[in-house]
Symmetry: C2
Subunit: 136 residues, 2 copies
């Protein structure tokens, strides 16, 4: 993640303290924070950072492919910096905990042409649901 800042600079980003702090908050694996959680953690280091800036920065990171947006069912989207190792998610249906998982097999290959209805299918997203050890 330390080289994320380098990659962004290389793409012509102005390096502001706000963007630096958001990138720092997203450091690490198995991080799946909501925008407001990112904002809260960023605000510990940079108290006056605004929600709008967090949303803007997250949106930019997503469209650069540096962060993945994970939509979880009615609640706020989560932002996942683990964008360079494709994976799927296992979600606890009770408490909402999210884990990265790596299933075998390619779900895209499991969708026959006859079942594509002329769509240009580009992505298959698998969400496993169940009860986590603490909730079971």
């Amino acid at each position: 993640m330390s080289d994320l800042l380098e990659r962004l600079r290389g793409r012509g980003w102005r390096m502001t303290s706000q963007r630096r702090v958001v990138a720092e908050v997203l450091d690490g694996d198995h991080v799946h924070l909501t925008a407001d959680e990112v904002h809260a953690r960023a605000a510990q280091r940079l108290p006056e950072i605004s929600r709008a800036t967090v949303y803007n920065t997250l949106g930019e990171l997503v469209s650069l492919g540096e962060v993945i947006e994970v939509a979880t069912d009615g609640r706020a989207k989560r932002y996942d910096p683990n964008a360079h190792h494709p994976h799927q998610h296992l979600v606890c249906s009770r408490c909402g905990t999210v884990r990265d998982v790596h299933p075998t097999g390619d779900p895209l290959a499991d969708l026959p042409t006859a079942e594509r209805f002329g769509f240009m299918v580009s992505q298959a997203e698998v969400t496993y649901r169940g009860l986590c050890p603490s909730c079971a």
Copy 2:
């Protein structure tokens, strides 16, 4: 779907005109309406039906397993009466159109025990994304 009303009566539901109309609107396969679309169609037959009642009825149908809730990424949830034939969804990333699809293979079987982290995994939901013929 005609026997849906029977099943509901059997479960002790009061049969109101509002519930009847919502059930009628959801009749058919490949129906994936938002709550507001359900409300609009229901209001053609029963002009004074309220949004709250539509939400209540849809929620009840979901928890009875008669309708499936399909969360599509930031937009409004869609309600799918095709609950008794398991299937997955193909979503247009541009216009949001939803199609039912039937992939081969079982994604649950593709998740090794070592990748389950002690969860009691009970469900795998696959969302295929791409551009529909009109959007491509």
